[in-house]
């Protein structure tokens, strides 16, 4: 009798129990028949055996059902068919009845068993589908490393094994091992615990004898304990995970000694799970490749722009400093007190300008590497604006500055140093472009869920084509404007800082001339006030 799936699903003790139960049910029915026949004679009483056969088929599968059928045939013949206590039959019609009974019993048993088997297979496939769906959902999670643990748990529950380990090599980007349950064999069997590096070697996928994607049993028991190996082998099940034809990981199962055998449905499920994992690894690899290419491209652009900036913007103040210091050194010229003062002032001013450019460059590189982390606290915006304007007073002395902030503007959450920098850059920008004497307005208002801060000037405005690119690092509208002092960094830095706050920044032309730079920060309602203790 070739084993069916149904049988391989069960462990040996369970199988023996099935046959025993089949026989027991036949014996029970025989006793009933013997009792009934002691009272009265009933034709076709043998049909009672069919119930036993059916129950056996449904509960234990076709094998026990066949055995039960044959046993019923023999027992009925022996005990209840004349001549009693022989396997010979006197009446030929009785012979036919007996054979018909046997045929009926075997066929109904088989039909019932296969019906049950199909139902179970359908259920099994449905469960597989659910598991696969869960796994597919888990592998698309952002943190695949964390998802591995959930997948291992899910597999362990589904396959009723004592341990499931999933490991991926480091090169996948989320290398690591997730273990669910106990990966060791029973105590006394062997001390070999699962060592992922042991089972996992990077390389091409197994081929030929071990086609990729399918599982295989491996024996990890040392030869010395071969006597015990029989029970210990067959308990590790290893499924390779492959991506792009390379082996990137392993799913390892440890079956518990009394748990069900793993058959082809389980193998099919594991292969599908391994394929899902492989695809997730592949997706992640492609995503990282794309990201890396983008970062490289951007840092390349930035480097080019940086070189331009160094040559254009850093040299100008440096040239002034070197020239002024050199002048002061000259021995053959007698400088007046005012001359000397002017040189010294130039050195100081230009050095400060260099410092400002370097600070913006540093901010920009911090932004590029994504390490900006605003330390948000509640502040009164008007106070911040006052501080900035106070500090920039030397810069804004050529322009009247009007502050328009409602007195009841609620406090807002922001990183003081960073928003100070944003506002300084915008105001500095306005002083560069607006002709002297023209008003600069600083306004703030709540608008929807945002706090909007605006710096408006009456300068020449912004050409349409520049509006879009204004916030790119080192962007300046045209050559003519290069003459303007500045590094082309201020707006890019402002944009980076505002976005790190979860806000947005934009520029537009004002009706009546001039430009308006606005940044909006997400504003939530302040917490209830905390009274002083």
């Amino acid at each position: 009798m070739s084993p069916t799936n149904r049988v391989t699903d069960r462990s040996i003790p369970a199988r023996v129990a099935g046959y025993a139960a089949g026989l027991a049910s036949v014996v029970l029915v025989s006793l009933v028949i013997g009792f009934v026949l002691g009272q009265t004679r009933i034709g076709n009483i043998s049909m009672l055996y069919l119930i036993a056969v059916l129950v056996t088929a449904v509960l234990f599968g076709s094998g026990p059902a066949v055995v039960a059928s044959v046993a019923a045939f023999l027992i009925f013949n022996w005990f209840f068919v004349e001549p009693l206590h022989t396997f010979t039959v006197s009446d030929p019609t009785e012979w036919i009845a007996l054979l018909l009974f046997l045929a009926t019993a075997v066929i109904t048993g088989q039909l019932a068993a296969s019906q049950i088997r199909r139902a179970e297979e359908a259920k099994q496939r449905e469960r597989e589908a659910v598991v696969l769906y869960d796994v597919a959902r888990l592998v698309t999670e952002d943190d695949l490393r964390a998802a591995l643990g959930s997948i291992a748990d899910r597999l362990r529950n589904e396959l009723q094994v004592s341990g499931v380990g999933i490991d991926l090599i480091e090169a996948t980007g989320f290398g690591g091992t997730a273990i669910s349950g106990d990966m060791r064999l029973a105590p006394g069997t062997t001390a070999v615990s699962i060592a992922p590096t042991h089972l996992l070697r990077e390389g091409t996928a197994p081929t030929g004898a071990q086609p990729s994607g399918s599982g295989r049993w491996v024996s990890v028991v040392p030869p010395r304990s071969l006597g015990r190996a029989r029970s210990a082998s067959d308990r590790y099940f290893v499924v390779p995970v492959t991506s792009d034809e390379r082996r990137v990981g392993t799913i390892t199962l440890v079956r518990s000694p009394l748990g069900p055998q793993l058959g082809s449905p389980q193998s099919r499920l594991l292969s599908a799970v391994a394929a899902q994992l492989g695809q997730a690894v592949e997706r992640e690899r492609l995503r990282r490749d794309a990201l890396e290419a983008e970062v490289l491209r951007r840092s390349d652009d930035l480097k080019t722009a940086l070189l331009n900036a160094v040559s254009h913007d850093l040299r100008t103040p440096l040239a002034s400093i070197v020239a002024s210091a050199g002048s002061l050194r000259q021995d053959d010229v007698t400088w007046t007190q005012d001359d000397r003062r002017e040189f010294v002032d130039t050195i100081e001013q230009e050095a400060n300008r260099l410092n400002a450019i370097i600070e913006n460059l540093l901010d920009l590189s911090r932004m590029e590497s994504g390490i900006l982390n605003p330390k948000k606290e509640w502040y009164d915006l008007a106070a911040l604006v006052d501080d900035v304007l106070g500090r920039l007073r030397p810069l804004t002395k050529g322009h009247p500055v009007v502050v328009d902030i409602p007195a009841d503007l609620p406090p807002v959450e922001l990183d003081y140093v960073e928003i100070d920098q944003v506002l300084s850059n915008l105001i500095e920008n306005a002083t560069k472009y607006a002709p002297a004497g023209q008003e600069i307005r600083v306004m703030a208002r709540r608008s929807g869920g945002e706090l909007q801060v605006e710096v408006a000037d009456r300068g020449p405005g912004i050409p349409q084509e520049a509006l879009r690119r204004l916030f790119e690092p080192f962007y300046r509208e045209d050559e003519a404007r290069r003459k303007q002092k500045g590094s082309g960094l201020g707006l890019a830095v402002a944009k980076g800082l505002v976005e790190a706050h979860g806000g947005r920044i934009w520029a537009e032309n004002r009706p009546g001339g001039g430009a308006r730079f606005v940044f909006a920060l997400p504003a939530r309602d302040p917490l209830p006030e905390k009274p002083a203790a």
Partner: protein, 240 residues
């Protein structure tokens, strides 16, 4: 030390950048201080023992030792004022240094005027440590009568809420010294506060509105961006 008088206060300059060390040393010497320089943390600690400085200028990025560790070691042994030298963008380091017991900080690059002003303030604090004990605090037009809880600005009485008054009092206790957000929170709201800034900044802004005539040019209550606040006393109100 050229031009130094032996009576001048002793200052240790610990900075590994020779050019800055020299510039600071020259300037301080010319203003009558006795100056010693150290390029490493180890030598700085040795000079502290042998030279017994009245003030330490400490760069946080010395090559051989963690700046915070140096502050801790100095504070274990003495209360010599420490002014930390650091660069912009290290606000968190400044705050940590101040919370560890440093008295003030200077952001590089700094001007000589700023350096001298900070040095004088720090030295004055050693001479007169607890200013908060004076019954009446006066700076410019601002008069705070601590005994009667009365605040006047240019003769006009200013009405402060209890929290605003406590805040002002905490600042007055250390004039010209930078107080970190954490110090102010703990002094005004209680020791259990420190990491949540709550409304500290908002209260400071309100207080400033009441005691400053020109908020864009605060004379008394200065913001130290990302670090804390400083109450400026009369002789330090720099003209702008």
């Amino acid at each position: 030390m050229i031009g130094g008088t032996s009576e001048g206060a002793r200052i240790l300059v610990a900075d590994d950048e020779a050019a800055i060390g020299r510039a600071v040393e020259t300037n301080l010497s010319r203003h009558g201080f006795q100056v010693r320089a150290a390029q490493t943390g180890q030598s700085a600690l040795e000079v502290i023992v042998s030279f017994r400085p009245d003030l330490i200028l400490l760069d946080l990025g010395l090559p051989d030792m963690d700046g915070f560790e140096i502050i801790r070691r100095i504070r274990d042994a003495s209360s010599t004022p420490i002014i930390v030298l650091s660069v912009r963008g290290q606000e968190r380091d400044k705050v940590q240094a101040l919370d560890l017991g440093a008295d003030d900080y200077l952001t590089k690059p700094f001007g000589v005027d700023e350096l001298l002003a900070r040095v004088r303030v720090a030295l004055r604090h050693t001479a007169r440590p607890a200013a908060g004990t004076a019954a009446i605090f006066r700076t410019g037009n601002l008069i705070v009568d601590l005994e009667h809880r009365r605040v006047t600005l240019g003769g006009q009485e200013v009405s402060l809420t209890p929290t605003e008054y406590e805040l002002l009092k905490a600042l007055i206790a250390h004039p010209d010294k930078v107080l970190t957000d954490r110090m102010l929170l703990q002094r005004v709201w209680g020791p259990e506060y420190g990491d949540e800034a709550h409304y500290l900044h908002v209260y400071v802004a309100r207080l400033r509105k009441k005691i400053e005539l020109d908020p864009q040019n605060p004379r008394y209550l200065r913001t130290e961006p990302g670090v804390g606040y400083r109450l400026v006393s009369a002789d330090q109100t720099a003209p702008t």
